[in-house]
Structure formats: structure tokens, C-alpha cells
Symmetry: C2
Subunit: 335 residues, 2 copies
Amino acid sequence: MSSIQEVAKKAGVGVGTVSRVINDSGYVSDKTRKKVEDVIAELNYKPNELARNLFRNKTNIVAVITPAIGNPYYATLYSAVENRLRKYGYKTMLCNTIGEATNEEAYLEMLERNMVDGIITGTHTLDYSIYKKLKGPIVGFDTPKLNDDILVVTVDHEKGGKLAAKALIESGCKEVLQFSDATTKNYPFIKRHRAFAKEIKKAGITAREYKPLMDRFDYEYIEENIEEAFKLYPNVDGIFATDTHALLYMKKALSLGKRIPQDLKIVAYDGTFILDTAYPSLSAIVQPIDELAKAAVDSLHAIIEGERVDRKTKVLDIYFRQGMTTNRKEDLYEQ
Amino acid sequence: MSSIQEVAKKAGVGVGTVSRVINDSGYVSDKTRKKVEDVIAELNYKPNELARNLFRNKTNIVAVITPAIGNPYYATLYSAVENRLRKYGYKTMLCNTIGEATNEEAYLEMLERNMVDGIITGTHTLDYSIYKKLKGPIVGFDTPKLNDDILVVTVDHEKGGKLAAKALIESGCKEVLQFSDATTKNYPFIKRHRAFAKEIKKAGITAREYKPLMDRFDYEYIEENIEEAFKLYPNVDGIFATDTHALLYMKKALSLGKRIPQDLKIVAYDGTFILDTAYPSLSAIVQPIDELAKAAVDSLHAIIEGERVDRKTKVLDIYFRQGMTTNRKEDLYEQ
């Protein structure tokens, strides 16, 4: 491989001039620039990116922190984020935090160490104290507002909870169970659980709640939740849960011979691809994943570029998608 | 944030000595090392990682190239790879190549530019010519053997094809359809399609084949495949397909009122988490994803560390998991 010295020698200029051409910084005449570029092409010279980054103090890398990339919601969101980051020329570094708080801290330190230009975090396992002192370009997905620097992007969870309750109430449910989260922290998504329970109670329907740990995504654990929920609340006729819980609950109910939607109504939350393989198809509250990714990346890029960005939480819209697990107004399915 | 100069001044040593302590290189007396480390701790100094990397010519970053991180197989594999890389102290950079060959090339160039220490690639969209000239630590997941430097990690696809055929033959199928791949390139996984077709024909069963494009993972496309397959081969009573095709085929069959396994038997290939939400549960050929990740990462690390690593393709074992979509010998389900 050619070196910068060879390029400089062949072009008849100094190493500093070659560096200025490569990094597009400082004054270089058009004629000299052309000559240097021609030699670079001729020698097939590839600048050492490490040296370039040191010069610019930029890496064009963004770290994305997710609790579990194997989870359909995070896999889809991550994919959309990576696509959007690429449009701005960023490369994506992934951090799976599942059960490893120390791992998360190591990634956050990368921002201080200039290894990454910014961070998008959708973490669940976070230790608040780490984020409190963190400075720099950071966007949180559905995280609490951890410090003044962090911009949070989320959806209208309250509306989501209300829409789910409406679908189950209109389907004639008498006893409804929601799988929520065993957290005491102030995540935006908690609003959907509160709004859901409030609407269900207001309609005079029995409201049950089961609280799984929020940082467990493995199916074994979710199946344990469902086994226990079936024992605790055997007469439930309506379910509100995230996609995976909803699917595994339906699977269990079908294996017990329950008819859907006659015996059991279900509304899933998130509306990711994992629902699309199920039969019957699930009614769902759908998160606008592409828009979430766009909002997060566009904001982060603006912050990295030094623009003044309003740090007020961005709340995106959410909607209900009719499937076969709740009744339509037209009563397509017999009761 | 403190600078290296402040550390050197406070410790009463030169900047070079501080650098040697940080990078653990060259001679520094125990006493001086202790003093420098104490000052680093006192001032909470974080070395600029860019400068450090330039010094060591190592980034501790590995790029992982996958066709589509949203696909359950790649999401699971990627998650396992990232976990394993972390054990060796590597951070993971993700490259989603779906439909973007230029994007892949940009990542491969990072190896030449010292931005990453190695590459694990499970790409499908690759342009052979790029890989042919590529040097350095590279491990391919189920890729063709593209050059002498690349170590390929794969599974015993031939055995997988045979096991799938056996399950459908023993379930009494008369006309079997497999979804294979429309590729002319020499991917290891092609062996499963050949072995499957051979066994089915040997048993005197009608063998049908549908060839989707191998770089399309979106459900819309897969559903089109299935619609067309239903029209082309309406009398099929056995299916062999990757997880997503298998699930979406089952969904379509259930929506048409077909009974499973009485009217239709199915064997899925890959055996990822996405199968676990389906009812009835699918019989599947299961890939050993954690072992694949381990084999790939351990080999890559050894190559990066300069060890002599045999570049012979590593072929891991694969097995059949009984579900409810093929008959058991004991005939648990009525015919």
C-alpha cells in the first residue's frame, strides 16, 4: 500500500498539503488539489482512517445501545436506525446491554474518549448515575429524560393505551389482563399501562395486571409469566401485551382449545414483523418505527454538527391496526 | 477534561512516559508507573482513544456484515456474535447490506484503512471481485470460499436436507414443495436443497421447487412467493422452507382451512426464535447458532492475534427438532 510520503513526493508537494487535500481543510489551490488527487488515484492510496480521525477529531461512528438485538422491536428499530445513519455517512456500532450494565458504561465512555461521535440509546438496564454526568450528543429512545443534554424520542403511549382499551371494551370483554412492567422508574411507556387500566376500570370491566421484569426478553421467561398468569387469572377474556407476550399467550390459549376471538380477545403492542406470521392475525397498536429512527438520527446528526437543537421530548403518533383477535364493528366473526 | 500534558506535569514525568504507561509499552519503572497511574486516577484523565489506536494500530473493533439484521436468523446470529466478541474485548460494528453493494464495499475498505481489526461476513449480495483481492482477518458465515485468506464457518447442510426429507417421507407426503434459492453461486447452503430433492425423488415422491431471490427478506415478497406457489402447486402436502417462508405458508394454509398436519406437513429450516410463537409448533432443522458464533469469533480472534489458523472450512452439526407439523412415529395426531 502506498504511503502519504509517496503521494507527496510524486505530486511534488509537502505531506501537509496532501493531508489538507484529504481532509478538505485549509487552503490548497485548485491546480495543486487536482495534481494531488490524480496521484492519489494513480497510486491507489488509502489514507489511514485512524490518522484522519485524529486530525478531524471525528470518527463518523455512532454507538447504538439496545437491551436485546434479538428482540423483534429492537431488531427492527435498529435496522431502521442503521439505514438512516448511513444516509449521513455514519457507521453504526452496536451495544447489546442485556444484563450487562458494565458493558453499557464502556460504550458510554467511548463518547468521552472520542471513539464515537454520538450515542442513540434505548437501554433498559441503565444506571441513572452514569447518564446524569454524561455530556455530548445523546438521543434516548423511550428512556427517561436523564439529563438536560439528552433528547428523548418516544411515541404517544397514552393514546396507545387508550386505543387498546377501546378495542377490548368494544369487543365486549368482562375481565382484562395487561402485561405491564415491574419498574419504578419514569419511562415514557409506563403511560400506556396507566391509561389502559384507567379506561378499563372506567368501563366497569375487571382489570388485572401482571408485571414481568422489563429487562428479560427470553421466551423461557415469558412462557413462565404466561403459565403463572393463566393460573392467577383463569377467567380472563381480554389481553393487552407487547408483541411477544401477546403471541405466546395466544399460542398457549390455542393449545388449550380456546377460540379466538370468541373466548379470548387480544391487542398486541408494538406491531412488529413478528406478528405477521401469526394466525389468526393480531390486532395491534403499531409504533411508527421508521419515523422514530428518522427523528432520532436527524436530531443526533444536528447535535453532532453543532446546530442548536431543542431538547424538548419528541412524541410521535401511534395507531390501532385491526386484526382477527378483536371484534370489528361489523361483527365479521360470530360470537 | 484533563490532558496528557497535565498528567505529565503533575506526575513530574514527560508526556512520553505517560503514553508508555497508558499503552503498556516500553520500559517504565514500577515506581514511576504507580505515580502516573495515581495522577491519572486523581485527575480522572481519559486517554483519547483515537490517539491510542493510532499508536497501537489496533481499534478493537470488528465489523460484522449481514444481509438483513431484521431477519430472525441474522438477528440471533448477530446477537451471539456480538456477545462472543465482547468476551475478547472487541466492539462490534454492524453493516446491513440489504440491497446495497456499495455499502458493503465501504465496510470492507475499513479493514484496509485500519478502522477495524477484522471482519465477519454473512453477506449475500457480495460482489465476488471485491472479496477476491481482500487480505486480512476475515471469517465468512455460510459464504463461498472467496479467497485463501477467508475462513468459512458453516453447518452440515447436506445432513439438514436429508433429515428434512426423512421427516416428510415418514409423514406420508405424496407431493413435496421446497423453497430454495435463485442463485447460481456456490454457497454452502445449496447442498441442503440438492440433498433434499434427491432424497424425495428417491422415495418416489413428486418433488416441486420454488426459487425466491436470495436477498429479499421482506414479508411482502415472501407472501407473493407463497401466493404463486399455491397457484402453481395446489396439491402439495409437504413443505420444506426457511423459518419465515414456512411460517407464512402455514398461515396461508390455516386461513384456507387446511388441517395441520393432516392435510399439510411442514419442516422449517434454521429453527430460530420466530418459530417459538407459532401454533401449531413447527418441526424444524435447527442451526447451532451459538456454536457458529463461537467458531467464527474464536477463529477471527486467533487470526487477528497472528496465530497460525487452519483455513479449512469449519462444518458444524445440525439436528431435527420434532414439532406438531410432521407426524411422530407414535402417531400422536390422527390422520
